[in-house]
Symmetry: C2
Subunit: 429 residues, 2 copies
């Protein structure tokens, strides 16, 4: 939890720096709200028992509840973040950060705005968060659902096979091209010619230059959808340059995120380092998102659309990386232990700790009438408390407290009047 708190703080300050507010939605939704939103994965939804009343399910992600919330409250403009748990009846895989109950951490911008400005801000946010968390080098892959669909069309994929071919392309981050092609041709029955043409495109990576080149591409040009996507990618990169984040962003035609609801730009961030510990190799993507302009309309009785773009930070994966990297970390923030050098000084300790608490200092004492000095000092070493304020008969007579630095074992007498300032000074760094 201490590691988690640090990660949350970094992420939340970034969201607030970008002007987001936070909203909360219930852990359960009406079962029908979730129905038909997650394709095959719907079988992983937890349902509540029918105990009378509405049929409920536990939320599966934060995006569908957000869209439901916007439609229900007729909100057409909002920039919000939401960090909360979601639930999936999945097989847990601890090392990959996959659980049945896990945090999602979403930032979304809803509203009708000029093209690519909010989309670029989402990528800027991913860049800021991954840089600040210091997880090692990373890349943010960008593509567009319209470019994918256009590419499939010009390569000769029949309309009704777009989705299934798209989900095969999605496997390119785990499988070599040969295996992916094999699935397209032998399992899904695509012509070898179409597969080979797809193979040429999905091998392409670049920046704004690649978007410009593809806009000149004889074949790609035939699709107005693809052209619209490529024009937006160009515009996106011009904003990313101004945001100073193009060093990490790559336009990658093999990126094909699985979810049905994306309608435009899509992106995914991956760590490119070999990994701190061997298990990290399997960590995969640490952030992802895209534009989904149709989802809110599905919940509005009149089908009114609210364009949205968002990003989800893969916070459980980040936790598991941080936990593997972590040295011994403290679980409390106690600055000073109030200790006694002799027996029967409980009253004096209680009086002193009251002064410290009332001055806002994080302080602790042992819940014994007459604890041994050694056990008080040991507790400090074990739990990383940096200072001990020691009371003894001599100190009480002289109106002082012996302030001990746990690491160096240095001790100095400090007058009671100066103690609070001294503790604050020593623990402020």
């Amino acid at each position: 939890m201490a590691i988690r708190e640090k990660v949350f703080n970094t992420i939340v300050s970034c969201f607030k720096r970008h002007g987001a507010e936070t909203i909360d939605t219930p852990v359960f939704e009406l079962k029908e709200t979730l129905t038909g939103k997650y394709g095959e994965d719907s079988k992983l939804i937890y349902d509540l028992k029918d105990q009378g009343g509405e049929l409920l399910s536990l939320r599966y992600d934060l995006t569908v509840p957000f869209a439901r919330y916007l439609a229900m409250n007729k909100i057409t403009n909002i920039k919000r973040y939401h960090i909360a748990k979601v639930y999936r009846r999945d097989n847990p895989a601890m090392t990959r950060g996959r659980y049945r109950e896990f945090y999602q951490c979403d930032f979304d911008i809803a509203g009708q705005y000029d093209a690519m400005i909010p989309d670029a801000e989402c990528l800027k946010i991913v860049h800021e968060i991954l840089s600040e968390l210091d997880l090692g080098d990373f890349r943010i892959k960008v593509n567009d659902r319209r470019i994918l669909d256009g590419m499939f069309a010009v390569c000769g994929v029949p309309d009704n096979m777009f989705r299934t071919i798209c989900s095969t392309v999605d496997k390119l981050d785990k499988l070599p091209w040969e295996a992916v092609k094999n699935e397209m041709v032998n399992e899904k029955g695509l012509s070898e010619e179409a597969a080979d043409q797809i193979g040429v495109y999905v091998g392409m990576q670049g920046g704004m230059d690649l978007a410009e080149r593809l806009l000149q591409d004889q074949k790609m040009c035939q699709s107005t959808q693809a052209c619209a996507g490529l024009t937006d990618i160009k515009l996106l990169f011009s904003y990313l340059q101004l945001f100073q984040v193009t060093d990490k962003v790559v336009f990658d035609l093999s990126l094909a995120r699985g979810l049905d609801y994306y309608t435009g730009i899509i992106y995914e961030a991956i760590l490119t380092q070999a990994g701190v510990a061997p298990e990290c190799v399997t960590v995969g993507s640490v952030a992802g998102g895209g534009r989904y302009d149709g989802l809110v309309g599905m919940f509005d009785p009149k089908g009114r659309k609210v364009p949205c773009v968002g990003v989800s930070i893969g916070i459980e994966r980040i936790f598991s990386i941080m936990e593997q990297k972590a040295e011994k970390i403290r679980t409390t923030e106690v600055q000073v232990m109030v200790a006694a050098a002799q027996k029967n000084l409980l009253e004096e300790r209680l009086r002193l700790i009251t002064e410290l608490w009332n001055a806002g200092i994080k302080a602790e004492l042992m819940y014994k009438k007459s604890p041994k000095l050694l056990s008080q000092l040991q507790h400090c070493e074990e739990s990383g408390i940096p200072l001990v304020a020691i009371l003894g008969e001599q100190e009480l007579k002289n109106g002082v407290v012996k302030l001990r630095n746990v690491a160096t074992r240095d001790e100095v007498d400090i007058s009671r009047a100066d103690l609070i300032a001294e503790i604050k000074k020593r623990t402020s760094a």
Copy 2:
């Protein structure tokens, strides 16, 4: 959520000041873990549908999961807080802060310690939190389960009626004595003599002096249980004096918290003000807790006990009071809006906002290529953004930004080099 965040921060800093760490437990528990812990209220537990695998229920409070966690992980010493949602199939009552999904906010100290030291710290924490939240005057009532049981015994209540009579006594905060007596005698069949004797005791309130007087009481003395409780109350008050919180704490023999698992000291904090808004009158208790030395042992295969004392802050009630009191509050923390005075300055705005974000300033811009200056200023007024950094052709030529104070409408040209420092200075207060 903005109000909630403020309340959470106050409470969490208090818990941390007292050296607590935080742990998290899952939202669902095995159904059998919750069975038989909540008496009649068990019917309010949400069960999950049997979709294969273990039978699960949503947590009903945070105390039972905490006890289960301690037993399962063989933890015998911990000071932890936990703020999380719990679930009850209850009839919602918004004005009283009663929902089906709501936050609980618990602080507990587990471990074998000298009497009343951790118990006193829990009361000190309640005192600190209620003072800091500035909800108006409050009282913390204190009693002891052993004093209640002893009192029932010496008043002639048969052993097997202790619980039911105790739950009638619990109604004294809502009903007059006559109604309570009527329930005891006419509904529950207690003798009128016993009821009258209870009536004398439950009218008593005081401090350490009352505990001392009752220790001399001919009747009360006959119960060794009651004597043990009274001796602890005396000790508790001596610690509370050292903690400087006796101004708000009252020993009240009518306090009888309903939960079965309490074994010693119990307490409850109430607001004594008539209430800010009329609805507040019904708010009732805002914190409560007590000692439960037997609960962890119920989850340990060998029945090993871990003594615990804790407090739960009634955070939903506090939210509803704060929400009723609240003036218009901001939902974001944006310090500055980056605005354009003329058309076609998007690039310049993006460049400037990047500088601000990279310097840690909370900044926002409108997602339009050429927004009107007026609509940018209006957005600031509506959402409480205090500063606007305005870019125009003249400003760009002169290497300055016009910094506008939204409230006073003052505008000053600031050089680009000084802008970040100036914004930080103006928004640091």
